[in-house]
């Protein structure tokens, strides 16, 4: 196994190199950071040239990339073009709040998906299955911004109008002395992410369990006289969970990237907003820093998931 992991890690380095190169090119051609200074009366050509020089933008693109890569290999992702702060500092400022939002959401997503998926599969074609299926389709088909604004309108604006306790709309989220306020701010964005994700995941798990329940070894287990509970949890669910674990495993790296729409609507100061706000201005160091982080996480967690398979399914051998 260690040989396999070493080989995968070596491949990962090569993949990351390609990812950084492609991202660097794409970000450079998506927006010109100097466009911020276009049409600014009072700025002279010399002023613009001095700023471009201070940002290193007067150097050829390959030189810029090699320099960036060299510093990145030494743990320095450079400074933001606009806030002039180290990119690592900016990421460190946003990552904890993104993780609070995304990990909380992911835990709820896993738990609720498991419950709904299992209930829906075991009670196939029952009233409860139909209800879960209907709500899943509704959740799956609605755009996230619609759910977000709908929840905000009801639980913030209307509840306030009805003189009921209401939830905050967003921002002013982080105050280390006021954790209950942070929890209140979490309710709406987490609900939003959970509604969207649970809809798909529970359907996926339901199909997976139903497929396993129809296999020969489950019938054999029934014939042996195992209880339905033992059969489901010890035999069926274990096999049905494999593809589910794959999906969740691949989700984990994206937890670091945040949820752009949800973070923007609920003014959550996370990684998604950091990426988008700086990408709009053509701030390459920040954009490439975030892409390097999420790209590395994707590569790393893909390896983890592959290794995890061997624990869940002893039939799988890595070589």
């Amino acid at each position: 196994m260690w040989t396999y992991i070493s080989r995968r890690l070596f491949q990962a380095l090569f993949i990351l190199l390609i990812i950084t190169g492609v991202c660097f090119l794409l970000t450079h051609y998506s927006a010109d950071p100097m466009s911020q200074y276009a049409n600014k009366q009072g700025m002279t050509a010399a002023d613009r040239a001095a700023i471009a020089h201070s940002l290193g933008l007067d150097q050829p693109l390959p030189v810029q990339y090699v320099k960036w890569l060299w510093f990145a290999l030494h743990g320095n992702l450079g400074d933001s073009f606009f806030s002039r702060q180290p990119v690592l500092t900016l990421i460190q400022q946003r990552l904890p709040l993104t993780l609070i939002l995304m990990v909380t959401s992911e835990i709820f997503i896993i738990i609720i998906s498991l419950i709904l998926g299992i209930v829906s599969a075991v009670k196939q074609y029952s009233a409860i299955d139909n209800i879960i299926t209907s709500f899943s389709f509704i959740g799956y088909s609605m755009p996230i911004f619609f759910i977000a604004f709908g929840l905000m309108q009801i639980f913030a604006v209307q509840f306030k109008a009805w003189h009921l306790p209401y939830l905050p709309t967003g921002a002013d989220i982080w105050n280390p002395k006021n954790i209950p306020a942070l929890a209140r701010h979490l309710v709406l964005p987490v609900s939003c992410l959970v509604i969207i994700q649970v809809a798909g995941y529970s359907r996926f798990l339901r199909s997976s369990i139903l497929e396993v329940l129809g296999l020969d070894y489950v019938r054999t287990a029934r014939a042996k006289g195992l209880s339905a509970r033992t059969m489901l949890y010890k035999h069926a669910l274990r096999n049905a969970a494999l593809p589910f674990i794959t999906i969740i495993g691949l989700d984990i790296p994206f937890l670091l990237g945040g949820a752009l729409v949800t973070e923007s609507i609920f003014a959550w100061p996370g990684m998604g907003r950091l990426f988008w706000e700086y990408a709009q201005r053509g701030d390459f160091p920040v954009v490439n820093g975030v892409l390097l982080l999420t790209g590395s996480a994707v590569v790393f967690f893909t390896i983890i998931v592959d290794v995890l398979y061997t624990f869940v399914d002893p039939r799988i051998r890595l070589s």
């Binding site: 600014k40 009366q41 460190q92 400022q93 709040l97 905000m152 709309t169 100061p269």
Partner: protein
């Protein structure tokens, strides 16, 4: 199964803990490291003393606070280094200049006793020497005296090549700064600089806020200095005491501000990127004031009355369409690309202006909340009020085009005619950004111009590409376009560089500002007259002539004066706001009922 699920959940939790541990304990933006200042001079030594202590006045229980929503977080809180409006608005409350502009656009003193004039001896007869007198007993919020040495230091920061300042324009025309005493600053210019009012003062695009010498002296690359990102001391009414990245920023009163305690005890600025969220926050009272709604938000903001009021101030910036007048060549005033040939004919340009119903655009897309300007610099001292915008007159437009030799092709419905010996169809591209309002306007204009036989073909490009520089190959910068549309900014002084032969953008002059590609010696001469005097009254006459010439020759199409759209809850008292200084310029006078 249990084992794998437990493993998975543990993995997520561990990962989050590990990564969270990589971050700081809280997400507070790092403030500048402040070296404890030496004790402030005693009253006996200077005749003055700081008003109250040296720390920001804390928010008292039951104090008055206003919560503001900004759609963007500022990058650097220094006008010297940031071009971002949100940064400049906050900076105007913490690092002020010698003078500013009031709600009536009057140039008024801030840290200075009075604004220099020829009458009070502040402006020398030849205009080459400007003398400012600071108010007595000025202090930074940390208790250190604010003196003429700080003004001189600010000039040194501006001209130091080690600092990547936003603009050196004007500062590089100063040869020396004398400080005969703590309250007197004498600026010596090497040549007449008519826009001297933009130096060391606070306005749009000219953040000349005074920098604290006692904190920054001896440092270079100040754009990377923590103080530049988050100034920890203040010369304005408020001090920033807390800033959580991406979340909020807290401003408390500066105990040493020369005007005294502002009417509020705290301003809390939240960063709310989505305008719909900002509207919801206004409704719930989570925020009191949103200063930067887009004009398109006017569709539903009035419906929020009476709980939420909306104010629309038409400002000096304006959306305009411009003709590419370029002449291909490599000489001074020539371009890489030839402009659209028919645009060289003034009657064609006039016909296009007459064929666009700008008032209907304002009435429908902007809900009638702003105006159609006739010329440059609307709603400012420099605007030529004698001009009346061209009316919407499609019949006259058709006549002008017929007389210019452009007749309608009955097959296509569009006109064509001979231009420089070539049969040319009146069909051209129009380039602008992807902003929805611009898309809506372009569709409207397309329909209007089709009625007079002109084909108008919009191309929408993301602003990061549209406004790219020459090296990036952007069409606007290289001059590879027929017609374009965007908002032209406002500098609190008539800005002349954008129309001169010497600034036409080309391969030989890649940093040029003249995107109109106009090279007209008569216009150059008129602009030269604007810059021939330091006296505002004399210059106003010259500026009026420039506008008259541009109007007569239909050189640009002003579409509408950009509106500052701000909404605030009924509990907030928002005094009249200067359209020059910006939406946050009067925060000293903000109050709540």
């Amino acid at each position: 199964m249990k084992r794998s699920m437990f493993f998975l959940v543990s993995l997520i939790a561990l990962t989050s803990l590990l990564l969270a541990a990589c971050g700081p304990a809280a997400t507070t933006v790092a403030p500048a490291t402040v070296v404890p200042p030496p004790p402030p001079p005693t009253q006996a030594a200077t005749g003055c003393s700081p008003a109250v202590g040296t720390a920001a006045i804390p928010f008292p229980t039951g104090g008055k606070t206003v919560t503001v929503a900004f759609s963007q977080e500022p990058d650097l809180l220094s006008g010297l280094f940031s071009s971002m409006s949100f940064a400049q608005w906050i900076t105007q409350g913490i690092l002020v200049g010698l003078a500013t502009w009031d709600a009536n656009n009057n140039f008024i003193p801030e840290l200075a006793v009075e604004v220099p004039t020829a009458l009070n001896g502040g402006v020398s007869a030849d205009g080459l020497t400007i003398t400012w007198h600071l108010k007595p007993c000025l202090y930074w919020s940390d208790g250190q005296p604010l003196t003429s040495a700080d003004v001189k230091f600010t000039w040194q920061v501006e001209v130091d090549p080690g600092n990547a300042v936003y603009s050196r324009a004007g500062y590089d025309q100063i040869t020396s700064v004398d400080t005969p005493d703590d309250n007197t600053v004498v600026l010596h210019f090497k040549s007449l600089y008519p826009g001297w009012q933009t130096l060391f003062t606070s306005g749009p695009n000219n953040q000349g806020s005074i920098q604290p010498m006692h904190l920054l002296q001896g440092k270079t690359n100040l754009e990377k200095e923590p103080f530049t990102h988050w100034p920890t001391i203040s010369s304005g009414p408020f001090v920033i005491t807390d800033w959580i990245a991406g979340d909020h920023l807290v401003m408390l009163p500066n105990p040493n501000y020369w005007k005294g305690h502002p009417k509020l005890d705290q301003i809390l600025i939240k960063f709310v990127p989505d305008p719909e969220t900002a509207k919801a926050a206004l409704k719930t009272g989570d925020v009191d004031f949103v200063p930067d709604f887009a004009e398109s938000d006017l569709a539903d903001l009035p419906a929020l009355e009476p709980a939420i009021h909306t104010r629309v101030d038409a400002g000096p910036e304006f959306e305009h369409y411009l003709f590419n007048m370029g002449v291909k060549g490599t000489g001074v005033g020539q371009s890489d690309y030839e402009g659209f040939c028919p645009f060289k004919n003034v009657d064609v340009r006039k016909a296009i202006i007459l064929g666009i119903d700008r008032q209907t655009i304002v009435d429908t897309l902007l809900f009638g909340k702003t105006t159609v300007p006739a010329s440059l610099w609307p709603n400012s001292y420099w605007y030529n009020t004698s001009l009346t915008p061209y009316p919407y007159d499609p019949e006259q437009a058709k006549t002008l085009l017929e007389n210019a030799g452009y007749t309608v092709d009955t097959k296509t419905g569009y006109r064509h005619g001979m231009c420089n010996g070539v049969d040319t169809k009146l069909s051209f591209n129009f380039e602008t950004t992807t902003k929805q309002l611009r898309k809506d306007m372009a569709v409207a204009v397309q329909g209007m111009l089709a009625k007079i036989g002109v084909e108008f073909k919009p191309i929408h490009t993301p602003s990061g590409t549209f406004f790219g520089n020459y090296a990036s190959g952007a069409d606007m910068a290289t001059g590879n376009f027929d017609m374009a549309g965007y908002t032209t900014g406002f500098y609190p002084d008539p800005y002349t560089d954008g129309f001169l032969c010497s600034t036409v953008v080309s391969n030989q002059n890649q940093g040029g500002d003249n995107n109109y590609h106009i090279c007209d010696p008569a216009l150059d001469a008129l602009f030269a007259a604007v810059n021939a005097s330091a006296d505002p009254a004399t210059r106003k006459i010259a500026v009026d002539k420039v506008q008259q010439y541009m109007f007569d020759n239909a050189l640009v199409i002003p579409i509408y004066a950009r509106a500052n759209v701000m909404s605030y809850t009924d509990r907030m008292i928002l005094p009249p706001t200067s359209v020059i200084s910006g939406m946050m310029g009067d925060m000293f006078d903000w109050d709540v009922k």
